[in-house]
């Protein structure tokens, strides 16, 4: 063992080394995660001279360990003696940046990017930039991939000769013969363009962008679309047409659906980047094509952007463009063959009403909403219902309520409990917009029926829903419409329903206030303490604990305490446990 018989102070590194070599990965991992502890113990000098060389030499381990190491080293600047010595961290991170496992490599690059900021400009040129160069000309694709992420952090802070070298390296990697490296370069193209001088953006970046956007692999081309947004933002308006638009047009009609999907997915960003004029002339027809694409994936991605696209159209021609160009496509999508497309559309279509105003909404959009409310796919209906607030603001919900009700009822009884769960979550929103009368008349029975659903998650959500309704409609409403029904379930032969009563009381007591809780709810809870099912009894204890704070001390002492004391002597150990817990929480002992 190193230094075991020499200098005493060498021990901590011996400890670490031995832990690092432990056969058990978990123990190795633990020790690497506490690397900072060891470094602190060693002091900055020995961390630099002994610990880091050791770490650099031992980089063959489980990826899990390497990941932890890569992360730790990003925060090591102070532990090696501050910015002046930060370059000591480069050798181990350089090795980690060449590892095969993407997660490790990405973390190493992240740490390198972080510590690059702590380098002085001189150190950056002396230590950091040579590392980037070494990585960029590495034999195996992993190091070249990592290099792609490092150019943009050192470029702004180096001399112009070094800058020229960096640009040259980046160019080389953009035409690397492995697609993995070209993908890495393409994904960093936008970021790199941002730190370049405008002249170089025009001379260098545009040609790289054009080349990557016509790469033989679609996985590279689609990344160029992402870069397109940043590049277009950097260029002056007058250059966009010649430098960017030919490539973007080509991407929107690429033969691979993945590239077209990417265009659709980034459409709003693209729209902002190229400005209103190009949007009107080029993007509107491109968007129409994407909405009519032969692949459902692309249509769905485009459908998702309908609202945002329309919102960002130049105001002077917005309505005309929507009415003549976009709306016809939207109408077709409402009866698309693919349910993902329809549900993507349903999640944004309501937003159009604010843009188009009352009359257009009633005339053109309302029929579409109504059609979607009757769609065979529950997700479509749910998406419409969940966005009702947008329409409510424009035309009021009454217009829809006739169609809304059957849709809600059907969803409420859907065979899939996740669908039922989703509609419950919109109940408070619906109740707020439809008003108390409509609610009492049409929806109250549904809400009560969910309390005896077969699925626990539904009963639970229904309980929570009642609480939100009471918060909305007030205690008096609760007393008249909900509380009697809830309390009635306390006598149900099914113990699960009896427990639901308790869960409802837990949720409602606070919203209903002291009076209702003490006079109506408490007697029922207390009576249930004699239930023959232990689960009900220990839930009584839990409920008492829960509603205790709402009650006055008189009720607590006179009514709650004796019952809890009795439960604390129950034969069932769970009942005992929860009763004792309630006694101590309510300070009744």
């Amino acid at each position: 063992m190193a230094g075991a018989d020499g200098d005493d102070s060498l021990y901590p590194i011996a400890v670490l080394i031995d832990e690092l070599r432990n056969e058990d990965v978990q123990l190795r991992l633990n020790s690497i995660k506490k690397l900072s502890t060891i470094a602190l113990a060693l002091g900055v000098e020995r961390t630099r001279t002994e610990l880091l060389p050791f770490l650099t030499d031992t980089i063959y381990d489980e990826d899990e360990v390497l990941l932890a190491l890569a992360e730790q080293l990003g925060n090591f600047t102070m532990l090696v003696g501050g910015p002046e010595y930060v370059h000591c961290l480069l050798p181990p991170l350089e090795s980690l940046a060449t590892v095969e496992e993407t997660v490790v490599r990405d973390k190493a690059v992240e740490s390198l990017r972080k510590i690059s900021q702590e380098h002085s400009p001189v150190d950056l040129e002396v230590h950091f930039e040579p590392l980037v160069k070494r990585l960029a000309s590495g034999d195996w694709f992993t190091s070249r991939t990592s290099a792609c992420g490092l150019f943009s952090v050192c470029y702004p802070r180096v001399s112009s000769t070094v800058k020229a070298e960096i640009r040259q390296h980046f160019r080389t990697l953009c035409s690397d013969d492995t697609p993995m490296v070209r993908r890495a370069a393409a994904s960093k193209l936008g970021e790199f363009a941002k730190v370049l001088e405008l002249d170089y953006v025009k001379s260098d970046i545009i040609s790289l962008f054009t080349a990557l956007a016509s790469d033989e692999q679609d996985s590279v081309r689609l990344l160029a679309v992402e870069a397109c947004v940043s590049i277009a933002t950097l260029l002056p308006q007058e250059d966009l047409e010649t430098l960017v638009m030919p490539t973007l047009r080509q991407a929107a009609e690429d033969k691979s659906w993945r590239v077209r999907y990417m265009v659709a997915d980034k459409f709003s960003e693209l729209q902002k980047a190229v400005g209103p004029e190009i949007t009107k002339n080029d993007l509107v027809p491109a968007f129409q094509n994407l909405l009519k694409d032969c692949e459902a994936e692309v249509r769905a991605a485009a459908a998702n952007k309908v609202k945002e696209f329309c919102e960002n159209l130049p105001e002077d021609s917005r309505e005309q463009i929507i009415m003549t160009h976009i709306l016809p496509c939207v109408k077709e999508l409402v009866s698309d063959t693919n349910q993902h497309v329809k549900s993507a559309l349903a999640s944004v279509i309501m937003g159009l009403s604010t843009i188009l105003g009352k009359d257009n909404t009633i005339e053109h959009l309302l029929p579409l909403f109504l059609a979607q409310l009757k769609d065979e796919c529950p997700e479509v209906r749910l998406n419409i219902i969940s966005n009702l607030d947008c329409v409510n603001e424009v035309i009021g919900i009454r217009q829809l309520s006739q169609s809304l009700l059957p849709a809600i009822v059907e969803l409420a009884e859907d065979a899939k409990w996740r669908v039922r769960l989703a509609i419950i979550e919109y109940m408070p929103l619906l109740a707020g917009q439809l008003g108390v009368e409509f609610f009492d008349e049409k929806l109250n029975t549904l809400c009560m029926a969910w309390l005896i659903d077969h699925v626990y998650a539904i009963r639970e959500a229904a309980t929570c829903n009642l609480m939100k309704l009471v918060e909305k409609f007030g205690a008096e409403w609760a007393q008249n419409t909900i509380v009697p029904k809830v309390l009635g379930m306390a006598n149900d032969p099914n113990y699960l329903h009896r427990m639901t009563t308790l869960f409802c009381i837990n949720a409602l007591s606070e919203a209903c206030g002291q009076d209702i809780t003490t006079k109506q709810m408490l007697p029922v809870v207390l009576k249930m303490s004699n239930d023959q099912v232990a689960n009900v009894r220990f839930n009584v204890a839990k409920s008492l604990q829960k509603i205790g704070p709402v009650l006055d001390s008189n009720a607590l002492q006179a009514e709650v305490k004796p019952v809890l004391e009795k439960l604390a002597t129950d034969t069932d150990m769970d009942v005992k446990y929860f009763a004792q817990e309630a006694i101590s929480v309510l300070a009744l002992a």
Binding site: M1, A4, D8, S9, Y11, P12, A14, V15, D18, E19, E23, L27, N30, S31, K34, S36, T37, I38, L40, A41, L42, G43, V44, E45, R46, E62, G81, G82, E100, E101, T102, W140, F141, T178, P179, M180, R183, E216, D218, S219, E253, D254, K255, S256, W257, R258, R260, C294, E295, A296, E297, E376, D414, A415, K416, W417, R418, H454, V455
Partner: protein, 489 residues
């Protein structure tokens, strides 16, 4: 959605098999983003065999051009007549290139490859079922198969025609052609992948100039599969081709090939969908080891590095592969890896999942492995003993316990004295281990304290050493490290 059985409503979950059964067998069109206008109606051309030999070549070309027309197979009612004409023509072309000699004149090559490229090279459509489970789900089938199948058939017959001349064809069957062919291996349709496999194999055989390129591109596909997408349908087929390519490697192996083994094939073991191509992968690995036994150590260490930690099915596959390797291992190589390997096997034997334990214990049914173990019993028995002994008392599964007894018996017969020693020291060993663990915990706890104290010290003093010294005087670290010394000895 209408008829829901009561049981289904109770838990809300339908069993996967039920849902699967409801789904129909789907087929899918290729994602042709066609600028091509609606297909023109085809009119039948005269039969090639009826044409005078002087006109045959011209007619052959016309037929090839006719077959460049693409049809929409999603729409099963349109263009029925034209579709039928194209099918019949393709059949005739297949027949023509497979039975006739002298039809592959130089001028026909571009027409032939053009027809093939137009038909088969297309962007594959998005997967209908993103969580497609190839073991359980029906694959989505290519809708235009009635035509595409014949085009593949034609390509194969073209390549296999005795008159076929790679020196002419290489102008058309070039790197770009191969690249597009390789991308098609991602097709979900197993029939298509099967054709592609045979075709790529033929191309690899006939075009020496493309071999390195093909290998490199397969590398790239695998690396993308491992580190980027984890999705590619044709891994098994590509590995199958590689299996026979590796078989033909000359000795000594080039470093490119060794790199492929260590940087691509071994990491492929980490894939989630390993079960789909494990047989082919293990075959490739064993092929390498049979070529060059000195690769055994890095391969075994590689497998141990990627040994599955949570997936029992994969662990069983790894054990199977290890047994295949052990079947061909040289005794000198075995000595190099026995220690790390048997440490892993000893963990597997003690695995609570009985299939893993059982698979590992089956090693003792293998005569050759037994002979290797016997030869090295002094090293292996101490590694295995602890797990076996414990499992013989504790495992929940009676079959495993019975197997373990047999294994213990076999090991005892190999070295009775060592076995007795280990049995008598078992308890003491366990206690020592436990103590060691406790001491490690304490060590870290104290180190942690040191950190807390030191944080304040470092703030006052940029050199951390005095902090340690101070603490050492206080005794914490001194006591602690003294104990560490004992642990070491």
């Amino acid at each position: 959605m209408s008829a829901i059985s009561a049981s289904e409503k109770v838990d809300g979950f339908t069993r996967k098999s039920v849902r699967k059964a409801q789904k129909q067998r789907k087929s899918q069109g290729s994602s042709q983003y066609r600028t091509q206008s609606a297909p023109v109606e085809l009119s039948p051309l005269p039969q090639l065999k009826d044409a005078p030999s002087t006109e045959q070549q011209e007619l052959f070309t016309q037929k090839l051009q006719q077959c460049c027309m693409l049809f929409d197979f999603f729409d099963s009612v349109t263009d029925l007549k034209s579709k039928e004409i194209k099918r019949a023509t393709l059949n005739e072309l297949v027949d023509y290139v497979s039975t006739n000699r002298g039809v592959l004149v130089e001028s026909a090559y571009p027409e032939i490859t053009d027809m093939i490229c137009t038909n088969i090279f297309r962007t594959l459509p998005p997967s209908d079922n993103p969580d497609f489970d190839p073991e359980e789900d029906e694959p989505t089938l290519e809708a235009s198969w009635p035509h595409i199948q014949l085009v593949y058939e034609f390509l194969l017959r073209f390549l296999e025609n005795p008159d076929f001349q790679p020196s002419i064809a290489k102008r058309y069957i070039d790197q770009k052609f191969v690249l597009q062919l390789l991308e098609l291996f991602d097709s979900e349709d197993p029939r298509e992948r099967d054709f592609l496999k045979t075709i790529l194999h033929r191309i690899y055989g006939k075009f020496l100039g493309l071999r390195a390129f093909i290998r490199k591109q397969i590398n790239n596909i695998f690396l993308r599969f491992i580190y980027e997408t984890e999705h590619f349908n044709g891994v098994a087929e590509l590995l199958e081709i590689l299996g026979s390519i590796i078989n033909g490697f000359a000795l000594p192996l080039k470093s490119e090939h060794k790199q492929f083994l260590m940087k691509v094939l071994i990491p492929l073991h980490t894939a989630k969908a390993l079960s789909l191509f494990h047989a082919q992968l293990a075959y490739c690995v064993v092929q390498f080891l049979e070529k060059d036994p000195t690769l055994t150590e890095p391969v075994i260490r590689g497998l141990l590095k990627f040994w599955p930690k949570t997936c029992s099915q994969k662990e069983v596959m790894f054990l199977g592969e290890v047994e295949e390797i052990l079947d061909v291992i040289e005794p000198t190589q075995f000595k190099k890896i026995q220690e790390p390997l048997f440490k892993q096997i000893s963990k597997c034997v003690a695995n609570p999942h009985f299939q893993v334990a059982e698979r590992a214990l089956y090693f003792w049914n293998n005569e050759y492995i037994l002979s290797l173990i016997e030869e090295n019993i002094d090293k292996i028995l101490p590694i295995m003993f602890g797990s076996l002994y414990r499992i013989s008392k504790e495992h929940w599964n009676p079959t495993i316990v019975a197997l373990v007894y047999n294994v213990l018996k076999t090991l005892m017969e190999m070295n009775c004295t060592l076995f007795d020693e280990l049995t008598s020291s078992y308890k003491a060993d366990r206690q020592r281990e436990k103590k060691k663990e406790q001491e490690r915990d304490e060590l870290w706890k104290n180190l942690e304290e040191l950190r807390l104290n030191n944080t304040t010290l470092v703030q006052n003093n940029s050199h951390g050493l005095p902090g340690v010294q101070t603490l050492r005087k206080k005794g914490t670290l001194g006591v602690l490290l003294g104990r560490w010394d004992q642990i070491q000895n």
